[in-house]
């Protein structure tokens, strides 16, 4: 299972790429594998305030529907429109083209709860 070292993770299988004040967020390779073929993503809107731990979007695969949780608090500044009509990109490229959205981070203290690639790998 692919777990890139340059990212941080949550127990609920989201990955986070910190880029200055922003964070790019997606689901891990393990998560897409477990969900199987993703067929629909209910995207949040740009500008939405999100709180860490809150359900931020729902993904549907041929297997079931899955909640995705906000790994950090902040404001959504960009969403990946491409996945709305091409949800399979999450299966094909979970860490690159299949990212979900970018947020402006509101509380950097929350970084403490995120997991390193090494620790995340030991959980899956």
């Amino acid at each position: 299972m692919n777990v890139p070292n340059n990212l941080v993770y949550t127990k609920t299988h989201e990955w986070i790429k910190i880029e200055g004040n922003n964070a790019k967020i997606g689901v891990t390779d393990f998560a897409q594998h477990e969900m199987t073929d993703i067929v629909h993503v209910e995207m949040p809107e740009i500008g939405t305030q999100i709180n860490k731990g809150q359900v931020i979007l729902t993904m549907e695969s041929v297997k079931s529907a899955f909640d995705i949780y906000a790994p950090l608090s902040g404001k959504i500044v960009e969403i990946n429109d491409y996945i709305v009509s091409n949800p399979e990109i999450i299966n094909q490229s979970p860490y690159e083209k299949g990212y979900l959205f970018i947020i402006e981070i509101s509380d950097k203290n929350e970084f403490d709860d995120l997991l390193s690639a090494k620790i995340y790998k030991s959980l899956i």
């Binding site: 199987t36 073929d37 067929v39 629909h40 549907e60 041929v62 297997k63 079931s64 529907a65 949800p87 399979e88």
Partner: protein, 475 residues
């Protein structure tokens, strides 16, 4: 594929002709009279008969084979139910008739309400709801209205993560916020975790007993005490009532509101989008909030009572899906108290027999005893890139409807089996052998057979992914 009636039609066919020249006293203006043919398909009687017979043979139902779909209670629908529901005395009645002329059906609805009270331990029932989820929605509206009437602001409903998906959906539709409760590995409730989230603004908790893993909630009385002490209400999802009829009553466990799926436990047909019936039962203190009209008995007459000022209002036209109500009534009266108890006992016995044949070979997350259904986890057995869905597809090749898969979500690679009470040991043994054969022989020796399945069905494996991503809708 079977052709459509219009495709089968041909001018050359010798077919029944409708006589449109019937004499009538009514003067029809010349410009309104039809000049052309009716445009109905022209098909001979034998071809028409073959068309419908062929279609029916493509259909899979309990009348053709074993249907072990867990959580759905696909039980036998006795044909006497259908026969009685077809009786002209019932199906020629119009709901707008004066109530004095439909005393019979009001009596049946009234009596079924009393029977459901006896079976469930609740005090009154509303029979309007058209389905289980509709029942949930109604029950939750009743809870909301109750708290409004006593001036309490309670906005949350607790739903365990092993519950049916409809529980959360119904709660949101009724205006509540859902708090998920992580359940124990066997699907039961952790009292400790429950206490943590049971704040003063929790309106209620929705429980399925036995739960979706087929385990009876042994702490139910304690849960009931804790929930009521908090001023919250207890909602019973009747999906699994089939396991406990005549043995224990939800009302006695402390539940305040519940729904029953008449199209499951009480044998009315089920699936394919309905019609269903999801009566809602409540304790006396919630009766004022039930939908109107309530059917009341005044001396020896049945009347419709709309004078309920706290009622949530109507949730369905007329009296609900009456033929379904009638079929459930016939079932209850045919079996009687002893028979219903026996049905539950047999359902539990059948499930335990099957489980006993699987438990030494396949992981059973909820332990080696169950109620009316059980859940297996295929996680540790799967190999050669085979998934649970492939195993399910392979079962179709052997003529079975597949068990439920990937539910409940708390079990990885879940297979959920509910044999129901009417299946014989021979039927169960055959299924057990075939299921074991797929898992322990075919998966290692002929994995391609599983990956390619189904090949013996009218349609081969469908591309479900493409169908969901890019649906081609036709009508």
């Amino acid at each position: 594929m079977e052709k459509l009636l219009n495709e089968l039609s041909s001018k050359c066919n010798s077919a029944y002709k409708l006589n449109c020249d019937t004499e009538t006293d009514i003067e029809i203006p010349e410009n309104l009279k039809r000049k052309s043919d009716l445009g109905l398909p022209n098909i001979s009687e034998i071809d028409l008969l073959r068309h419908f017979t062929n279609l029916s043979r493509k259909n899979y139902s309990l009348s053709t084979c074993f249907y072990p779909l867990g959580s759905c209670t696909m039980k036998h629908n006795p044909l006497i139910n259908e026969r009685i529901a077809k009786n002209r005395a019932f199906n020629l009645i119009h709901p707008y008739q004066p109530t004095e002329t439909m005393q019979g059906i009001l009596k049946i609805i009234y009596n079924l309400e009393r029977d459901l009270c006896e079976i469930s331990g609740m005090n009154c029932f509303s029979l309007q709801q058209a389905a289980g989820a509709h029942g949930e929605f109604t029950g939750l509206l009743v809870i909301a209205k109750y708290f409004k009437s006593i001036g309490q602001k309670r906005i949350h409903i607790i739903v365990p993560d092993s519950a049916h998906g409809t529980n959360s959906a119904s709660a949101v539709m009724a205006g509540f916020n859902v708090i998920p409760l992580k359940s124990n590995p066997d699907g039961s409730i952790s009292i400790l975790k429950l206490k943590k989230i049971l704040t003063p603004d929790v309106a209620g908790i929705m429980l399925t007993v036995p739960n979706t893993l087929g385990v009876f909630e042994k702490n139910i009385l304690e849960i009931s005490k804790i929930v009521h002490k908090n001023g919250s209400l207890l909602y019973y999802d009747g999906a699994n009532l089939n396991a406990i009829m005549g043995i224990v009553k939800p009302g006695d466990m402390g539940f305040d509101v519940m729904h029953i799926n008449l199209h499951k436990t009480f044998s009315a047909p089920h699936g394919g989008g309905g019609p269903g019936s999801g009566p809602v039962g409540v304790k006396t203190f919630l009766e004022p909030f039930l939908p109107v009209p309530r059917i009341k008995k005044k001396k020896s007459k049945f009347v419709l009572d709309y004078e309920k000022h706290n009622s949530i209002g109507r949730v369905k036209a007329f009296f609900g899906n009456f033929p379904i109500i009638l079929k459930a009534y016939v079932y209850i009266k045919s079996l009687g108290a002893k028979g219903l108890k026996n049905a539950s006992e047999q359902a539990v016995l059948n499930a335990n027999y099957m489980l006993s044949k699987f438990k030494n070979k396949i992981t059973v997350p909820a332990g080696d005893k169950c109620m009316h259904e059980f859940v297996l986890s295929l996680k540790s057995l799967l190999k050669n890139n085979i998934k649970t869905v492939d195993i399910a597809k392979r079962l179709l090749d052997y003529g079975y409807y597949s068990p439920t898969i990937y539910f409940p979500l708390i079990v990885e690679e879940a297979v959920m089996i509910e044999p129901t009470e009417t299946e014989s040991k021979k039927t169960l043994d055959l299924f057990i052998n075939i299921f074991n054969n797929i898992l322990f022989e075919e998966m290692s020796k002929k994995p391609h057979k599983i990956k390619e399945a189904p090949v013996n069905t009218p349609l081969k494996r469908l591309n479900e992914i493409e169908a969901a991503r890019k649906p081609v809708l036709k009508w």
